[in-house]
């Protein structure tokens, strides 16, 4: 089964890096879904000018992460990628808790 999947999706040029990224994203979405089913999120007002639910803050976090990486790639280049990663993770935590 696994071999069949591999041979029939080779044209998509999967790499372990993109597999890990998309797998992580799907796992996070699934976790957020289960979390929301167990303990429904209530919209609240943080430092964002709009009231947000957990899902909103997660979505804004993903958009922010991609923005930080694109800005880094455009301005600095593809070196020291741990810097935008640290910035993104820190921002993700800040806006998730106080956003």
């Amino acid at each position: 089964m696994w071999d069949w999947i591999i041979s029939n999706t080779s044209w998509m040029y999967w790499t372990w890096q993109s597999g890990l990224a998309i797998g992580g994203l799907f796992a996070a979405i699934a976790f957020m879904g289960i979390w929301d089913a167990v303990s429904p999120s209530v919209a609240r007002k943080g430092f964002f000018p709009i009231s947000t639910t957990r899902g909103d803050r997660f979505f804004i976090g993903i958009l922010s992460l991609i923005t930080v990486f694109l800005l880094w790639l455009g301005i600095v280049g593809s070196t020291a990628l741990w810097v935008p990663l640290v910035i993104s993770v820190a921002w993700f935590a800040v806006e998730g808790v106080w956003g």
């Binding site: 998509m12 040029y13 790499t15 993109s18 998309i22 709009i50 958009l63 694109l70 790639l73 990628l81």
Partner: protein, 285 residues
């Protein structure tokens, strides 16, 4: 699960997820490779993104696209509301107006481009002849402003009826009681529009703005047929730029620019959606 309705939605969601996921992931995977048709792909990480983000042609196309899309919204939305307000609310005129408004929407993109090309061609076109009356040499093949404005006005002509029809449907759904209350309170025509009509139109305006913004980002056939993206690159919008890179078999670059293109549309659509759902929310409750 309390709401069984979700069970019936799951098949449609599954089909949508697969049909969206496979092309999107293929593009993302391509963007991480140096990949030219006929050659062996090489994984290069984010190098294609660096190349795209430092490519002045891409950045110019992006700025041009944003100017175009914002301009389109600034013109089409107020114009669509005005047209909707001017349409008759009942009687035989309603059907006539709706059919007339619907005609531009029925014309395919490529036909619109060809119509524009015929109308603006310097030897036989009506528009250059018209401008010649005012001693202005109108030429879409030479003048970047002429070319850009032609495509801009073409889009306004093609898609303002969509906004007008959406607003018209929204206006029809506003109960008369609100207007009666406004009259009793002595509200002026402007205040009635500002505090009754506009807030009640919010939901259709959100749909209209999002549709027009996302559609304007996809503009392709009109500039391609009218000017081929020129003169110079005056009408090379993002879609045209990305397509040219894909046509030149630079699939890694095309994949990276497509992803950035998609990301910009998502970010702006989200900002518009949040702005429009939250601005003045207290007024309509």
């Amino acid at each position: 699960m309390k709401n069984r309705g979700w069970l019936f939605v799951i098949p449609a969601l599954a089909v949508l997820a697969i049909s969206a996921f496979i092309p999107l992931m293929t593009v993302i995977n391509y963007s991480l490779h140096y990949i030219f048709a006929g050659s062996t792909p090489t994984f290069v990480g984010f190098e294609n993104y660096v190349e795209v983000l430092r490519d002045s042609a891409f950045l110019r196309a992006l700025v041009r696209q944003l100017v175009f899309s914002m301009g389109i919204l600034a013109v089409e939305v107020p114009l669509g509301i005005c047209i909707a307000l001017c349409l008759p609310k009942r009687g035989p005129g309603v059907a006539v107006c709706l059919v007339l408004l619907g005609i531009p929407l029925l014309i395919p993109f490529n036909v619109v481009g060809i119509i524009a090309r015929v109308l603006t061609q310097s030897a036989v076109g009506v528009i250059p002849e018209f401008f010649a009356l005012f001693n202005y040499s109108f030429n879409v093949a030479k003048d970047p402003v002429d070319a850009f404005m032609t495509i801009f006005l073409l889009d306004v002509w093609h898609w303002t009826p969509l906004v007008a029809l959406l607003c018209y449907a929204g206006l029809q759904a506003i109960p008369d009681a609100y207007y009666q209350a406004a009259r009793i309170d002595g509200a002026s025509a402007w205040k009635t529009f500002r505090y009754v009509t506009l807030p009640k139109l919010r939901s259709v305006l959100i749909i209209g703005v999002l549709l027009r913004f996302m559609d304007s980002f996809k503009i392709y056939a009109e500039p391609l047929l009218l000017t081929g993206g020129g003169p110079g690159d005056a009408t090379t919008f993002l879609s045209l730029h990305v397509a040219r890179k894909a046509e030149s078999y630079n699939l890694g670059y095309a994949g990276a620019s497509s992803f950035i293109y998609l990301f910009i549309v998502i970010v702006f659509s989200y900002i518009f959606f949040q702005l429009m759902t939250h601005i003045g929310k207290g007024e309509t409750k």
